[in-house]
Each structure stands twice: as structure tokens, then as C-alpha cells.
């Protein structure tokens, strides 16, 4: 660790804990408390990554996650920013976006082709010939891009959580700490977050050499840590702001959805780069980055440095470098009249100061991985270089400190408007949204004392807004000079390697070219050049891009405007967004039985899981389904109906209510009987169907479709309220469960476990009665959905498992067999029964599916009646019919949704199909044009491969048309 400095008072590293790690195949050592970037730099590894487009060598630039010069991946994550990544023992990392490793990256030669790759070149170069575009696209995607996700990586289920606070303070620098304390002192519940590993913000780098400042920092930090009303969350970024102060917090483990009542943004500023030739060479970094290396990680940034500055901070950097043993070769100040105090201190260290000068170019070593010297030039009064470079200064590093831009993303997202302050040459908040406050440097307050005061004011203001405490806000300090930024730290060069956007390798000429092509609006310019669209979202480039465009347009910064900030403004791992997955699923009480009896379970509507069929040894899926159907036809089967909707309707208005909800009439329905109910919406479209059991004069029990249960129940509630009817509605769907025992032997089996007479005289077809099944109180309903003698048994959910077992036990001697939803679909198809939402769609009326007789035309009103009256007078567009194929037919067979064709026109579609049935022939239902609906008409259905299935329309039911088997 040749660049490690002697121990410093407030360093973050623990020199007692050595961490060994590997980077690009080489083993290095660092300390616990290091980040990857500091550990590499301590080992004199300056070449840490390659750029996005030209694959130019890059090194540490911001030390605060604002650049992509050290993006790494391990075997679990990719695109991890190395300047924020805590060092751990055993890490094995490689740089992303290389082919063949960092040093020998195959794409490194692309920078020599840069003149052929101006901004937008791919729009112009690769659109013809069209057939080659996939090839181009593949090559471009391979060459560009960052880390790649591997399917071999394990899936981590990261948590998401909710949190709440009164005041969220973003940033734990001087103003943030002060704001948190003042708000908490007033009694607010405060959450203080900071993206960095430790609290303190600029205390930890800019003011690290200042003893009074450090004493103040320690005092504030101690108070914050001990304050009962403050929670401190480090390594946590505020990734996005949403309406009503919903804030997304992202830390290393999780995404937190925070609801705060107010927000104080004390996020500080990002230091900004200067634009000069080769300004991206490893060894050129922000002044604040150099200070972070020195003060936080005790790493010497350079051996011999030049400081390029336009503010007082640059002089502090020069002094810090000097005190860290770095030879400061020169301070190059863009200003002609810098402040004298700090300049005098620098001069005392025998550091030459070049006022009114700039760096025009940095000169690299032979392979471009280090800086060798800089060429400087005098500036005229307009801030532009005068003639050729005046001097070359040898150095191995440049610290750039030419200005700041506020960390404004959260403020922008919360609706804050900014204005450009020409005094301090920085954007500052103009109008803040309700409940949002700004403090410190983000609002242009730079001096430490002022920041502390400003933070305190913001904390009190937030409490005053919330009605917490009784302190009053003193007047906020106005923004005053001197300027901490240069209005145009951008210098042209013929070499075209003066980068504005390091993420996307955009240089100054790219902006001039784009402007010449007419992209003179900041949003258009952004999209054409892709400035600010890289991983850092333009944190180092947007301000300079705006400055360039403003100058090209001859307008002010305010008139030019800025781009929109959207969540998430920092890279967030996809695993955090995915988080732990919550996909609720519902199980019937008999689920465990199905699972142990080899059922293949399928998701049906309403979140339910249901047996599709039961697997049998050496039988295919289709065979199992057909076997189950045969068992019902020939003996007895039992199916789980727990997913059906089950609703109680009772009350004095139960009958009129039912008459209004369904198309049929229930006025004359006798107690203890069943009716088939069809319900429509206001347009006359069928929305649900099911069995309606009348249990008493004022009482009905309805079953609904599985999918429609929730929706139909809400419809019942809505209409009951609107009509002000005296009915009580109770959704029993999950409270009770149901099963259907069906087949010629079903009565015999059921009779052994019930306490009532099941003869047709006592319980005829469409009859209902209360009984005990297996000792459990139940509702028995004699139905025929599958076309055989059958009984629906409804029992309390907790008893479902027991009743099912009792029935299976009782049916053993009758060869009872469970059957799944696929066999049921086949059996009901044979019987010609429709399934709402499969054989109907969002336009189907009862008239189209043969349910005309269900519609009671004498009733005063039912939902959908006015529409059906109109529909009834119009010519029908389609009819649902049955079709089948000859038992010997060996042509192609259609599937559901295949189109029915006639004389080259589409005349319908298949809604249900069974390739195999107990009738030994394929059968199905289809919508067809009414003139083609007569039995005996040939039907042609186009299959997936374009072949036609040739069948015939037949009358339904296909099976037992007289209904004799269900009424025995």
C-alpha cells in the first residue's frame, strides 16, 4: 500500500484489520473501512476501468458514486460502484465493460475510430440495409453496455419494508445534522439518511483539517446518535420522491417505502468537472475526491499535483495536498482576482499560482493510463484561452475544483423550481413544495457557520409546518457571494477528447454538432446526444451541457432550462426493485389431500389453486383426464368445488332483490329447490352464472363462478345499496367449501354418510336440503352440471377435509375416483353446458348462447333488461353451437380460439374443444354466424398451421340429450 499515508485523526479505516482482495486477477490488500476505490489507489492502481463508448482508460474521479470509472462485478452482482463499495476480505472483482480484461480489452482500439463515431452515428449509419440491422444491433450491444447478468447467479430475495417518520432529513453533513437535531428537539420523529458509509458529509473531507469544525462535528454526531427521536440510516440513498411524501429509500439490503410528513433536503452539492483536452485521464479527479482520499482513507492521491480551480475550495484542496506530502506544482485559477486570504496561505507554501489561466490539455503517458503533464494557457476577460499554451507543468495528477451543482434530484421530483443565481453561479431552489425544505449548500449556503444555522432553521421550519413544538423560525440567510463556481469552465480543443459526459464519452464537439443539426432544446439535445442518460444520470455532465447549450443559443441558464429528474436518480439493483415477491394464492381445505394424491395443480381465477387432474402411473395427462371422465360416467367421481363463489342473500327484500339481479324470476321458486341463475350487467352482457338455492321464504344461497365470485359479490353489494333494499349479503366463499359427488353410483355412496333420505322422491333433481354428511352440518344440492346423477355438498371450511375423506372412504367399494377441473370441463362440454368467460366474452348476451328462455320478459326490471329489450329486436350476429367430428376423422383438430371460416371469411371462433371425449369423437362449442348455425351444416376451422379442420354442426347436448341420467 505504497500510497497509504500515516495515521490521521479521523480516518475511516481500521489499520488492525487487513483485507485481502482480488481485482482483475491481481491480489491486493486494504483495510476494513476502505472502499474498493481507496484500497486500489492506496496500492497505486490508477487504471480502474474503461469508458463506455471508446473504452478509454479511466481512474477514480469523484469518490462519491458520481462516475462509472470503477464499476465492478463479482459472482453475484454487477455494475457496483467501487467508490462506494465497502472493502471486505476475500472479494474477487473484475471491471465491467471489457472483453479480455481491463488491460487487454479488445475494444480499446475503438477510440482510434472515434472520428467515425460522432454522436448519433448509429441513427445514420445502420438503418440501411434493413436486413443487416439485427447484425449491427448485436455488435453494438456487445460493444456497448456495462455489466452482464448471469443466469447462474443465485436468486436473493431481498426484503421490502414500510417505514414512517415526521421529518426525513436527507444528508448528514453540517446542515443535515443541525436540521435533524433542531427538529428532534422540537419533538419530531426524525429519520436522518445519508448515502455515505459514515455521517458528516463535508465535515469528513472539506473541514477535516479544521479543529474547531471537527469539534463541532463530534458534538453534533454524539447528540444525533444519542437522541431518542433520531434514527440514523447510513449507506442509504433517497432514490425517489412520490406524491404525498412517499419516498423510496435504498440501502444495501432492502428497498424501504417511507411515508414522511415533511422533508428536509440537506444533500449538499456535487463538485463539477472542467472540460479540457484529455480531462478523463486517470489521475485527474475532483478536488473533493482528492480530499476524501486523504482525510477519510489516508491515501495520497498524487505525488505531484496541479490544482485547477475557480473558488476558495480549490485553495483548501491545495493546502490539504500540501499537508499530505503531495508536491503541488501549481494552482491554476480560472479567475483573474481570487480571494487573497487563501491565496496568501498557498503562496506561503511556495506554490505558484497562475491567475486567469486554465489547463488546456493533459498529456498522457504512452498507453494513456497516467498523466504526465498539463499544458496551461492564459484566459482573456471572457474566460477563453488566449492563443497557444504558455507553459507545460509536470505532474501525475490534477485536482479540479471549479464549481458545484446542488444535489437537487429529490427537490426536483418533489416539485421544487430552481433558478440560476448569477452571484454564486449555481442553481438554487426558488419555490419549494409544501412540506419540503432545503438547507445548506443545496440552497447555496457555503460557509460552515451559515450551514449549521441554516440547518437549524430548516428543522424548526419543518416542525412549525407539522405543528410540532413551539419554536419560531428565524430569518433564513440569503444566498450571497463570492461565487463558488465558474460560469463556463469549458475549453475547446482540436483534439476532441475534452469530455463533457464521462458516462457516455460525449465531448464538446458532439454538442456543437448536435446543435448544428437543430437540437437546440435541452430535452431534445439530451435525447440525441444521450447526455445525462448514463448510469450516473448526468450528475457530472448536466450542468455543463446546459451551459454549452445556453451559450450556443445565446440565452441564459434560466431560459435554457434543465432536464427532468425522475426516480430512481441513482442506480438501484434490480433485486431491490423485485424484492420479496408476494403473490397471494388460495387453497381449498382439501388441498393437502390433492397434493398427497398426485394432483397436478393449476391456478384458476380468483387466485385459487385447484387440481387439474390426478396423475396415474404410466398414464399421460390426456389419458388421466379421460379416465376420470369415464369414472364419472360409469361409476362415481368426486371433485373439489371449494373455489366456487358462495353467497348468502337474506332479508325481507330477498326475492325482489334476486329478481332484479338475475335475468330469471325467483318469485315462484319453492323452498328446497334450485334454479340456474344468469346475471347480466347494464348492457345485457352475461357476467356470472350459478346455482341459486332457495332455503326459506326470505333466504337464498347462491353459487357463482370461481373467477367472478369477488366481482359479483361487489356488484350485489353495490346494487343493494343503490336500491336501498333490505337484504343482508354474506360472502361465504372461503368460509364454506364444497364438493360434487357425481356418477350413477353417487347416491349409493353418499347415502352411507348422510342422515337424510336421498331418494328422488325426497330429494329430486334440482332439490336442496340440509343434512349431516360425515356428521358435519351440510347443504346438499342435487345438480347435474356434468350430466350425471350428482350432489353438491357445501360444508364449513374447517370440516371440508374430513367430509372429503369420508366420501372417499365410503366410495372405495364403488371405485370412486377424484376428478379434476379438466375432466369436469370435458363432462360439462359433453352436456353442452357453457362456462361463463370461456364460452362467453365481454359482449355475449343470453340470446347468443341459447339462454333466451332464461330471460324473463314479464318482469318489471332486472339489471340489463333495457339493453336486452333493444338487443332482442335486432338481428343476431352470432350463435353458440356445438360441433363434432366423425369418429373416424383423422384430419387436423382445432384448438380454442381458432377461427371458423366460410367462403374465405371469418364467421366465428371455437370457444371450447375436447380432442378426446367419452363419446369417442372430438366435440366442441363455437360461435358462428346465425345462418350457419343449423345442425348438419359443415364447419371449417383454420388451425395454427393453416390447415382446415372439417367438422359438422350438431345439436347439443352431445350427451344424454333427454337428461335422463341426471334425473334417475
Amino acid at each position: 500500500m505504497k500510497n497509504r499515508l500515516p495515521s490521521r485523526p479521523n480516518e475511516w479505516i481500521d489499520r488492525n484489520q487487513v483485507c485481502t482482495f482480488r481485482f482483475e486477477g491481481q491480489t491486493h490488500e486494504g483495510y476494513a473501512g476502505d472502499v474498493l476505490a481507496s484500497a486500489l489507489w492506496a496500492n497505486d492502481i490508477r487504471f480502474t476501468g474503461r469508458s463506455f463508448k471508446y473504452h478509454r482508460p479511466r481512474g477514480i474521479y469523484s469518490m462519491s458514486g458520481l462516475d462509472v470509472n470503477l464499476l465492478v462485478e463479482d459472482r453475484q452482482s454487477t455494475n457496483v460502484r467501487g467508490d462506494l463499495m465497502p472493502l471486505e476480505d476475500g472479494l474477487e472483482l473484475r471491471s465491467v465493460n471489457t472483453a479480455g480484461g481491463l488491460k487487454y480489452d479488445w475494444y480499446r482500439f475503438s477510440q482510434w475510430l472515434s472520428r467515425f463515431m460522432p454522436v448519433g452515428f448509429y441513427y445514420k449509419a445502420f438503418h440501411t440495409p434493413r436486413k443487416l440491422f439485427p447484425f449491427y444491433e448485436k455488435q453494438l450491444r456487445q460493444a456497448a453496455g456495462l455489466g452482464k447478468i448471469s443466469a447462474k447467479w443465485s436468486v436473493r430475495s431481498t426484503p421490502k419494508e414500510y417505514a414512517f417518520c415526521d421529518v426525513l432529513v436527507v444528508g448528514s453533513g453540517p446542515s443535515g445534522l443541525s436540521a435533524a437535531l433542531s427538529a428532534a428537539d422540537q419533538g419530531a420523529d426524525v429519520l436522518l439518511v445519508d448515502e455515505m458509509l459514515r455521517s458528516g458529509g463535508s465535515f469528513c473531507w472539506q473541514w477535516a483539517h479544521d479543529e474547531p469544525a471537527q469539534n463541532e462535528f463530534l458534538r453534533l454526531r454524539q447528540r444525533v446518535e444519542q437522541h431518542a427521536k433520531i434514527r440514523l440510516s447510513l449507506s442509504t440513498q433517497v432514490a425517489g420522491w412520490y406524491a404525498d411524501h412517499w419516498v423510496a429509500l435504498v440501502d444495501r439490503q432492502r428497498l424501504t417505502k417511507l411515508r414522511t410528513r415533511s422533508l428536509i433536503v440537506a444533500s449538499g452539492c456535487h463538485e463539477q468537472p472542467a472540460v479540457f483536452q484529455n480531462n478523463d485521464l486517470p489521475g485527474i479527479m475532483l478536488g473533493s475526491a482528492a480530499q476524501r482520499l486523504i482525510q477519510q482513507f489516508a491515501v495520497r492521491p498524487f505525488h505531484s499535483a496541479v490544482v485547477l480551480t475557480a473558488n476558495s475550495e480549490g485553495y483548501r484542496v491545495a493546502l490539504d495536498l500540501c499537508h499530505a506530502g503531495v508536491e503541488v506544482a501549481a494552482v491554476v485559477d480560472l479567475r483573474h482576482d481570487p480571494e487573497s486570504d487563501l491565496a496568501n496561505q498557498v503562496s506561503k507554501e511556495d506554490i505558484p499560482i497562475y491567475k486567469g489561466h486554465t489547463i488546456l490539455e493533459a498529456k498522457p503517458n504512452s498507453n494513456g493510463t497516467r498523466i504526465r503533464s498539463v499544458l496551461i494557457s492564459a484566459l482573456n476577460k471572457d474566460g477563453q484561452p488566449v492563443g497557444t499554451p504558455t507553459q507545460a507543468i509536470s505532474c501525475d495528477g490534477v485536482a479540479v475544483s471549479v464549481g458545484w451543482t446542488p444535489v437537487s434530484d429529490i427537490l426536483y421530483q418533489s416539485g421544487t423550481r430552481f433558478r440560476y443565481d448569477n452571484v454564486i453561479e449555481q442553481l438554487v431552489p426558488n419555490t419549494l413544495s409544501e412540506g419540503v425544505f432545503a438547507a445548506g449548500r443545496v440552497r447555496g449556503i457555503f460557509e460552515l457557520e451559515d450551514q449549521l444555522q441554516d440547518g437549524s432553521c430548516a428543522g424548526i421550519a419543518a416542525c412549525q409546518y407539522l405543528g410540532i413544538g413551539n419554536a419560531s423560525v428565524s430569518e433564513r440567510k440569503p444566498v450571497t457571494g463570492p461565487a463558488h463556481g465558474h460560469p463556463y469552465p469549458i475549453f475547446p480543443h482540436t483534439g476532441k477528447k475534452n469530455f463533457v459526459d464521462f458516462d457516455e464519452d460525449l465531448h464538446l464537439a458532439d454538442f456543437h454538432n448536435a446543435h448544428q443539426e437543430g437540437y437546440d432544446n435541452i430535452e431534445l439535445l439530451k435525447r440525441y446526444t444521450t447526455v445525462g442518460m448514463g448510469p450516473t444520470q448526468g450528475k457530472l455532465s448536466n450542468m455543463n451541457a446546459v451551459r454549452i447549450l445556453a451559450r450556443l443559443n445565446g440565452k441564459s441558464i434560466d431560459k435554457t432550462g434543465t432536464t427532468t429528474s425522475r426516480p430512481f436518480h441513482q442506480p438501484v439493483a434490480i433485486e431491490h426493485l423485485a424484492g420479496r415477491r408476494f403473490h397471494p394464492e388460495r387453497r381449498t381445505p382439501m388441498h393437502a389431500w390433492h397434493a398427497t394424491h398426485h394432483a397436478t395443480l393449476v391456478h384458476v381465477g380468483g387466485g385459487w389453486l385447484r387440481p387439474e387432474y390426478y396423475n396415474q402411473p404410466d398414464r399421460t395427462r390426456d389419458q388421466c383426464i379421460l379416465d376420470e371422465a369415464h369414472a364419472v360416467r360409469q361409476a362415481v367421481g368426486l371433485i373439489d368445488l371449494g373455489t366456487l363463489g358462495k353467497i348468502y342473500v337474506h332479508g325481507p327484500d330477498a326475492v325482489p332483490f334476486m329478481n332484479r339481479m338475475y335475468v330469471g324470476s325467483f318469485t315462484r321458486q319453492k323452498e328446497g329447490t334450485l334454479r340456474y341463475g344468469v346475471a347480466c350487467d347494464e348492457t345485457g352482457v352475461i357476467i356470472d352464472d350459478g346455482i341459486v338455492a332457495r332455503l326459506a321464504e326470505d333466504r337464498f344461497y347462491l353459487s357463482t363462478t370461481t373467477t367472478g365470485a369477488g366481482t359479483f359479490y361487489r356488484e350485489l353489494q353495490r346494487w343493494a345499496i343503490m336500491w336501498k333494499m333490505n337484504v343482508v349479503l354474506t360472502n361465504m366463499t372461503s368460509q364454506w367449501t364444497a364438493m360434487n359427488i357425481a356418477g350413477p353410483k353417487s347416491r349409493d355412496v353418499l347415502a352411507t354418510v348422510v342422515d337424510v333420505d336421498l331418494s328422488s322422491a325426497s330429494l329430486p333433481f334440482s332439490g336442496a336440503c340440509r343434512a349431516k354428511v360425515g356428521g358435519v352440518p351440510a347443504l346438499l344440492m342435487r345438480v347435474g352440471f356434468v350430466g350425471e346423477l350428482g350432489y353438491e355438498i357445501h360444508v364449513p371450511a374447517a370440516s371440508g377435509y374430513h367430509v372429503w375423506n369420508e366420501l372417499m372412504r365410503a366410495g372405495q367399494s364403488s371405485d370412486i375416483r377424484p376428478f379434476g377441473v379438466e375432466a369436469q370441463r370435458l363432462l360439462r362440454l359433453e352436456k353442452g353446458h357453457v362456462i361463463v368467460s370461456q364460452d362467453t366474452d365481454a359482449l355475449t348476451t343470453p340470446f347468443e348462447i341459447g339462454l333466451e328462455e332464461m330471460v324473463n320478459r314479464k318482469k318489471e326490471f332486472f339489471v340489463g333488461q333495457p339493453s336486452l329489450r333493444i338487443v332482442g329486436t335486432q338481428a343476431r350476429q352470432r350463435s353458440l353451437v356445438g360441433f363434432s367430428f366423425h369418429p373416424e376423422y383423422d384430419g387436423p383438430l382445432p384448438d380454442e380460439c381458432h377461427l371458423v371460416m366460410h367462403e374465405g371469411e371469418i364467421v366465428g371462433r371455437v370457444t371450447s374443444i375436447a380432442h378426446r371425449s367419452t363419446l369417442n369423437r372430438p366435440i366442441g362449442l363455437a360461435f358462428v354466424r346465425p345462418d350457419l348455425a343449423n345442425p348438419g351444416t359443415a364447419i371449417r376451422i383454420r388451425t395454427d398451421n393453416g390447415q382446415f379442420a372439417e367438422g359438422q354442426i350438431v345439436s347439443t347436448p352431445f350427451y344424454d340429450p333427454q337428461g335422463e341420467r341426471q334425473t334417475i
Binding site: K160, E161, Y162, R580, R587, V776
Partner: protein, 228 residues
């Protein structure tokens, strides 16, 4: 015919090696999963228990309030608040004409039998035994688990006030309570979602260092009375 005890909706999920069962009234419940001492620690730190054996009823209809008065019970004035009968039944108002009647562990057997024998539908009032799954989340870190599954700010919620919310996407009714300063959250949900939610909650519970716990630590006094 012998009717077996009510099965908890998460019966299979509870049935692990070392589990001790107990019949409580008409239901079967887990007494403990192994070490009572360990479960007691989890009870105070973070534990989750299936207490579906605690009976509850739904009462709704325009004359529900009258029905309650006829039983010499009262209806709380405010929605989501409750009134507790001397028999140990806690009656929560869910709406104008809708109530949840929840039996406390100390509810008298007579009252349970009596309410169970009441007609399902009478006098324009519907009363039925709910089949809900009921989970109990306990411990000082219980809110950490809830924070990962639902968006309620628990520290602003009063004790013994029902909260209707979603937990991991499932509609639940939650009653925050405490015993000897130990937070307890009783969670009712429809039984069809029970296995899903139990799996989610126990997974998160274990991730946070919590454990499944039995009735021995959740309701120690109840079992001492010998309900089985």
C-alpha cells in the same frame, strides 16, 4: 359418527417433528414445537403462532345490535372498537350492522356452546361461525415483520383497536394488543389464504431470527386451566 376436531387451515405446515398437539374445545392446536424455554424467548423477541383454535363469529344484519342486546351484550359505539362480555367474548364493531365476535382464551365453554347453538339466520340477522385462520405475532420486534408485509404505522395505532389492512397482499383484520408490555398482534384472515400467508410470515420471521411458537407460551394460563 365421530367428528374430528376442526383442522387449522395451516395444519400441514405445523405438523413437524417434535410438535405437541392439544385439543382445545372443538379444535386442534399446537402446544409447543419443542423447547418451551426457547419459544418463550421468541415470544418476547419475535414469535408467530397459529391460534386458529380461538373461535370467532360473524354477526351482521339490520337487527344485529338488537340481537346483541338480547344476549345481554353490548355493541361498541365506534367502528373497530370493542366491548368484552363477562363470558370472555370480545365484540368488535366492523360497521353499522356488522360485528366480529371473538372468543378470548378465557371465554366460558357455556358461552361458546350457546353462541354456537344460535340459529344461523334469524330476525333479519346472520350469525355464523367463521372459519378464519388466526395467527398471533408476538414480541418486541413483531413490527419489523409487519413492516415488511404491510403499510401500517403501528406506533400510531391504539391498542385493542381493530385494523383492517393487507398483509403480504392478503386482506387481514389485525388486533394490536400487549401482555406485560409484550406486543401481540392477532391476525384474522380468510382460511383459503392461510397457507400462503403462514409461509410468507414464517419465512420472514426466521429471516429476522424469530421462531414459530405454541400455545404454551402464547396463552400459558389457558392451558394450565386444562382446556383440553
Amino acid at each position: 359418527m365421530n367428528i374430528p376436531p376442526h383442522r387449522s387451515p395451516v395444519h400441514e405446515q405445523l405438523d413437524s417433528t417434535g410438535v405437541q398437539w392439544i385439543d382445545v374445545g372443538q379444535s386442534r392446536a399446537v402446544r409447543c414445537f419443542g423447547s418451551v424455554e426457547k419459544e418463550l424467548q421468541s415470544f418476547h423477541d419475535l414469535g408467530i403462532s397459529d391460534v386458529s383454535c380461538l373461535q370467532c363469529w360473524s354477526l351482521k344484519g339490520p337487527e344485529a345490535g338488537i340481537w346483541l342486546v338480547a344476549q345481554s351484550w353490548q355493541a361498541a359505539d365506534d367502528i373497530y372498537s370493542s366491548w368484552t362480555s363477562k363470558e370472555g367474548l370480545q365484540i368488535f364493531r366492523l360497521g353499522k350492522d356488522e360485528f366480529l365476535i371473538a372468543a378470548a382464551p378465557n371465554a366460558s365453554q357455556e358461552s361458546l356452546t350457546s353462541i354456537g347453538a344460535s340459529s344461523m339466520v334469524q330476525d333479519n340477522t346472520m350469525l355464523f361461525r367463521r372459519q378464519d385462520a388466526v395467527f398471533m405475532l408476538t414480541g418486541l420486534r413483531a413490527t419489523q415483520l409487519l413492516a415488511q408485509t404491510c403499510g401500517i404505522h403501528w406506533s400510531t395505532m391504539g391498542l385493542d383497536q381493530l385494523v383492517l389492512t393487507r398483509v403480504a397482499g392478503v386482506s387481514c383484520t389485525i388486533l394490536p394488543t400487549e401482555r406485560d408490555g409484550n406486543p401481540m398482534f392477532r391476525i384474522w384472515l380468510e382460511p383459503a389464504y392461510a397457507v400462503y400467508l403462514w409461509q410468507q410470515m414464517t419465512t420472514i420471521c426466521r429471516d429476522l431470527g424469530g421462531e414459530m411458537i405454541g400455545l404454551d407460551v402464547v396463552y400459558p394460563n389457558w392451558l394450565i386451566k386444562g382446556s383440553s
